[in-house]
């Protein structure tokens, strides 16, 4: 069975996110025949790294990125060893719960876009919502003394 693993411990440097995004797609294409899942995971890698770097990684300086791809799906994890502010942690948890409360992530995506367009709201989790909608991924977060880890699991591998 084909499998790919990708693990990086990288500095909190925004410029490096694009290098990861560009390398994830070709890595996945060694396993999956369709480009859609490769593009979705590449986009999700960039969005999760952006979130980690925006919300506290600078405190510790390093972000942990891991990807495991097999024939039954892709698991993407980004861990920020910094604890961040309590409000940031709760906001992250709340956004993920909110996304997962929708039966169809398209509804969450439209709701967030509407909020942005109607109220000029901040980004407010649009990156996470697009992972759920465009990537059809299930998102979870884990908060512990090791930091904040966000996980996205992709099981819809068809076009």
């Amino acid at each position: 069975m084909s499998e790919a693993r990708y693990y990086l411990v990288m500095p909190c440097d925004w410029e490096r996110i694009e290098q990861v995004r560009r390398s994830v797609g070709p890595c996945l294409r060694t396993i999956y025949g369709n480009r859609a899942i490769c593009d979705a995971v590449a986009m999700s890698s960039a969005e999760l790294l952006e979130n980690a770097m925006k919300h506290g990684a600078a405190e510790q300086g390093l972000v942990h990125f891991s990807l495991k791809a097999a024939e039954d799906g892709v698991t993407l994890r980004v861990r920020n060893p910094a604890q961040g502010q309590p409000a940031t942690r709760e906001a992250l948890r709340a956004v993920i719960e909110w996304i997962n409360s929708f039966e169809d992530p398209y509804q969450a995506y439209v709701a967030r876009l509407t909020e942005i367009c109607e109220q000029g709201g901040g980004e407010g989790g649009l990156g996470l919502v697009r992972i759920a909608y465009e990537g059809r991924a299930r998102i979870q977060c884990y908060i512990s003394t090791n930091g904040i880890e966000v996980e996205a699991i992709f099981t819809h591998l068809e076009d």
């Binding site: 996110i17 694009e18 859609a36 979705a40 925006k54 995506y109 876009l113 367009c117 980004e123 649009l126």
Partner: protein, 123 residues
């Protein structure tokens, strides 16, 4: 008065804007900055000026825009909504490519939110 064309070049991105009759914006490359509004705002103001002076239509060509992060998409979405809802409205056509999954999924949803003044052509 017609504004001269504008070309914005950044690492991995070229934006071309022309203002003859209708406004045409062409984006090529990748938008991945943490604060793209810093360099997009002057261009957006130029476009809004052109609309204010009577340009009733705008084409935003995204076919060669390989990737845009959520920060960039939020700015684009809010801006298009403002342009399409002004009085009189500006009719905007987004030219998208089916090669880019994010465009195929995000732009129809955006059209649903913005309304009929926003059209999406998937080429």
């Amino acid at each position: 008065m017609i504004s001269p064309p504008v070309v914005l070049e950044r690492e991995n991105l070229i934006v071309r804007a022309s203002f003859e009759g209708s406004v045409v914006l062409q984006l090529q490359g990748v938008i991945r900055d943490s604060s793209p509004d810093q360099w997009l705002s002057p261009l957006m103001e130029d476009v809004e000026d052109a609309v204010q002076r009577g340009a009733a239509t705008m084409v935003v060509d995204l076919q060669e825009l390989e990737y845009m992060n959520a920060v960039g998409f939020r700015i684009l979405a809010g801006w298009l909504k403002r342009l399409c809802c002004r009085v009189p409205p500006c009719e905007v056509t987004l030219r998208a490519s089916r090669r880019h999954r994010w465009q195929a999924m995000a732009l129809p949803a955006l059209r649903g939110v913005v309304g009929r003044e926003l059209q999406v052509e998937h080429l």
